[in-house]
């Protein structure tokens, strides 16, 4: 057991460090260090412009999409090299936040299911940051139950082979900046729900696509609704067979949960720092027995997640596949963030209600309080994650499914009130 690099890893790290040192936009570092979940932290420049510039620079030097094959614009680096890169990239990584979905989910899906021509056309500009992708999966009536989606794709009756799409997607991050979208739609409502789906990709600039930002409970708008009105998609932009959309989507989702959960922080270090400064009855808060007991339990969750991440990296470093431990990341971090925010506000007393730049750490705890409920839902709710751990990690049976063999159109769609 040690925390040191192997000689090869150390050499790679030195190379990365030197390149970043010479090329990173250092003037942005202080802002980027204030990045929080779902925000790059950037205010002095447009995040999309700055993000595209950084990605382009990386791509030119061979540092884009380390895990992708070289023929599609990647660098074909090993998983552990990818980890070292991200450790060294540090705060600048948040500049590339707009590409996470494209590089982590859409790209791998296209790579697995598209024709060679399509891959050659679409992947390099995605890798180099010229094009941004978004993922069009969730719908208002199908969140956790993704396969219950209702957006319809029907063959055009003009013999073109094109598909005509109508419906609505929701929770689409980055849709407003995106050039392309990965879309799952229902092509057959007369078969059981998992069997009537088909995957496509489409230009977000297509006629009939309308992006509407969702105002969130915290006042921000990180997500969008996307409306489709007679949007035309060429059949060549179908991924997988008609009716095979569910299997295709599993490629995407497998990557989504990994990338959301891995290495999440609970925000403990900020709260701990605040407890070192704040006072209770004239003494440092950190000396209060109640604060200590609560902080200690938060601390071991934070360090538990940190070392769980390092265990996964250790496995990667040895060429092994990490175990299922990482699936706990978002489950633990989401709930803990929210508890920590309430705890930090409690320490502030009546003044905890105030949310402005004079609040401790620029109002960070108030922001986390208002943002954290979403963390416990997006990308797999706490309940879905517990199901995944129970079923895929512990091998417990699935929930009883009443909709499994029903044709989609016969599945009940609204709860009837008793009495």
């Amino acid at each position: 057991m040690d925390f040191n690099d192997t000689p090869e890893e150390a050499a790679f790290r030195a190379e990365v460090r030197a390149w970043i040192d010479a090329n990173a936009p250092k003037h942005l570092e202080p802002e980027l260090r204030r990045a929080s979940f779902a925000s790059s932290g950037l205010v002095s420049e447009d995040p999309v412009t700055a993000g595209k510039a950084w990605q382009k620079k990386k791509a030119a030097a061979g540092w884009a999409c380390l895990h992708w094959p070289k023929e599609y614009g990647g660098a074909a680096r090993s998983p552990i090299e990818r980890v070292i890169w991200s450790q060294e990239e540090g705060p600048y990584a948040s500049l590339s936040g707009i590409f996470i979905i494209g590089h982590g989910m859409c790209g791998p899906t296209v790579m697995a299911w598209a024709s060679e021509d399509q891959k050659q056309a679409r992947l390099p500009p995605l890798a180099s940051g010229e094009e941004i992708w978004c993922q069009l999966f969730s719908e208002p009536a199908s969140g956790s139950d993704l396969a219950g989606l209702r957006t319809r794709a029907v063959k055009a009756d003009d013999g073109s082979g094109d598909w005509i799409v109508n419906g609505q997607k929701i929770w689409t991050s980055g849709a407003q900046h995106s050039d392309w979208g990965l879309l799952i739609a229902r092509t057959d409502p007369d078969v059981p729900k998992h069997r009537g789906l088909t995957m496509f990709f489409l230009s977000m600039h297509s006629p009939g696509v309308k992006v509407v930002p969702i105002k969130q409970a915290n006042g921000a708008s990180g997500f969008n609704e996307v409306y489709f009105t007679d949007v035309r998609i060429p059949d060549a932009q179908r991924l997988g067979e008609v009716g095979q959309g569910w299997q295709v989507s599993l490629t995407t989702l497998m990557n989504e949960r990994l990338s959301i959960g891995a290495g999440m922080s609970t925000g403990f270090p900020d709260v701990f720092r605040y407890c070192m400064e704040a006072e209770i009855d004239g003494r440092p808060a950190v000396e209060d027995a109640n604060v200590r007991s609560k902080l200690a339990q938060f601390a071991v969750r934070e360090s538990g997640l940190r070392y769980t991440g390092m265990r996964a990296i250790s496995a990667l470093s040895k060429g092994e596949t990490p175990g299922p431990e990482n699936s706990i990341g978002k489950l633990v971090a989401g709930a803990t963030m929210q508890e920590l925010a309430m705890f930090a506000l409690d320490l502030q007393g009546e003044a905890g209600v105030v949310w402005d730049e004079d609040s401790p750490q620029n109002g960070r705890f108030q922001s986390v309080l208002m943002r954290s409920p979403a963390t416990r839902i997006e990308g797999g709710s706490d309940e879905i994650l517990r199901n995944i751990i129970g079923e895929r990690v512990l091998g417990l049976p699935g929930d009883i499914r009443v909709d499994k063999d029903l044709p989609f159109r016969e599945i009940p769609t609204s709860g009837r009130r008793k009495g």
């Binding site: 969730s138 208002p140 009536a141 199908s142 969140g143 956790s144 139950d145 219950g148 929701i170 929770w171 969702i214 105002k215 969130q216 409970a217 915290n218 006042g219 704040a278 006072e279 209770i280 009855d281 004239g282 109640n290 929210q338 309430m342 506000l345 409690d346 320490l347 502030q348 007393g349 009546e350 003044a351 905890g352 209600v353 105030v354 949310w355 402005d356 401790p360 108030q366 309080l369 208002m370 409920p373 979403a374 416990r376 839902i377 709710s381 706490d382 309940e383 517990r386 929930d399 499914r401 009443v402 909709d403 029903l406 599945i411 009940p412 769609t413 609204s414 709860g415 009130r417 008793k418």
Partner: protein, 373 residues
């Protein structure tokens, strides 16, 4: 034994609930959340007209003279509807303080206006972050002139007068300050719950009229805050109950995997636990109502009990109501966040949960020691 409200009180509750359903739907709350107004003035006037504001104020001072049990009933409804009005500041705190410690002249000057909704009062103890304490009070009165700063002050931006804790000689006393007078500067503060405004008040030689004895300020303020804590606990109870209902209704309506989501044990048991928290809070609030209305010796313990229980329940229910709603629960358009904001804001009013937890056990052990002695 009767740990319940009377039939008349329940009728009153139904009446106020109907009134608030009509006059204070979520859209009315959102108007304050999103707009410029710091409170819903028409609703406040309506509540005055209905006799809500004056319910516990004696008739001789323009009130209805019902009592504190009625005020508890009303507080629950105000909490349930998230009413964006300064009842807590003006009635639970300012009017209560005047009734407990005000001079005849002070009562005559302000209570009728408070009852009629013609004036708004507020209560300013805190000076910045952390637990409130007499030692932390830096505001100072010299020669009937107040200087210093108070923040946050709930409803300080809209109040006509303020009751301020300040140093006077060696001790802390309470002072009544007319906020329209010279030497007062108000600054609105941004908060997690804009439906209940907060302000910073800066005083620079503002005229101050002492309430109660010199040096008695902290003692009176504590008594007033205990009483207000019970009323706020009822507001929290109303909020918790409504958040539970919202979650229950959504779990019945929303389908996933071909089933109502309330048929999944994860959701069903989450709602059951919300019910448990709300029920414990209700019972503890009733205990508080009894203590408040009967001026029982148990009042300090009952206040802390109701407050700890109701704070815990409202935060628990508001947080899990969002979780039951899933992604929709986190949109601006759904009302879940209104309850979440209020739950977390009320959790800090009059001192945070950990403060009240500590107070509860301090008071219980003191009581226990006395009983043993």
């Amino acid at each position: 034994m009767n740990l319940d409200f009377s039939d008349e009180q329940k009728l009153l509750r139904d009446q106020v609930r109907r009134f608030l359903e009509q006059r204070c739907p979520p859209a009315a709350v959102r108007a304050v959340l999103e707009g410029e107004a710091e409170y819903h003035a028409a609703l406040y006037a309506g509540l005055a007209e209905l006799g809500v504001l004056g319910s516990a104020i004696p008739e001789e001072y323009g009130g209805v003279g019902l009592g504190h049990l009625e005020l508890c009933v009303l507080a629950e409804e105000l909490g349930r509807a998230l009413a964006p009005v300064p009842v807590a500041s003006s009635i639970y705190l300012a009017a209560e303080c005047l009734m407990q410690a005000g001079s005849e002249a002070q009562k005559a000057a302000w209570l009728p206006k408070l009852a009629a909704g013609e004036a708004i009062g507020c209560f300013a103890i805190a000076e910045g972050r952390g637990r409130m304490s007499a030692e932390k009070v830096q505001a100072r009165v010299e020669g009937d002139r107040l200087s210093g700063a108070k923040a946050p002050v709930a409803d300080g931006g809209i109040a006509d007068f303020c009751i301020v804790a300040a140093r006077d000689g060696d001790g802390v006393s309470l002072f009544l300050v007319d906020l329209s007078a010279a030497g007062v500067r108000r600054t609105a503060l941004k908060t997690i719950d804009p439906t209940r405004g907060q302000a910073r008040l800066d005083f620079d030689g503002a005229a101050a009229d002492r309430i109660g004895g010199a040096g008695d300020g902290w003692h009176i303020a504590s008594q007033v805050m205990d009483r207000a804590a019970i009323l706020l606990a009822f507001e929290q109870l109303g909020g918790a109950d409504r958040a539970l209902e919202m979650g229950r209704d959504y779990a019945l309506e929303r389908m996933a995997f071909g089933r109502q989501i309330g048929s999944f044990q994860a959701i069903k048991h989450m709602l059951a636990d919300m019910y448990v928290a709300a029920t414990l809070a209700r019972s503890n609030c009733y205990y508080g109502a009894w203590a408040l209305s009967s001026a029982a010796a148990e009042l300090p313990v009952a206040a802390a009990t109701a407050r700890v229980s109701a704070t815990t329940a409202f935060q628990h229910c508001a947080k899990n109501n969002i979780q039951v709603h899933g992604g929709m629960g986190f949109t601006w358009d759904f009302d879940c966040h209104l309850y979440y904001r209020r739950a977390n804001a009320l959790a800090l009013a009059l001192g945070s949960l950990s403060t009240w937890e500590s107070l509860l056990i301090e008071r219980m052990s003191a009581g226990n020691r006395e009983a043993a002695a």
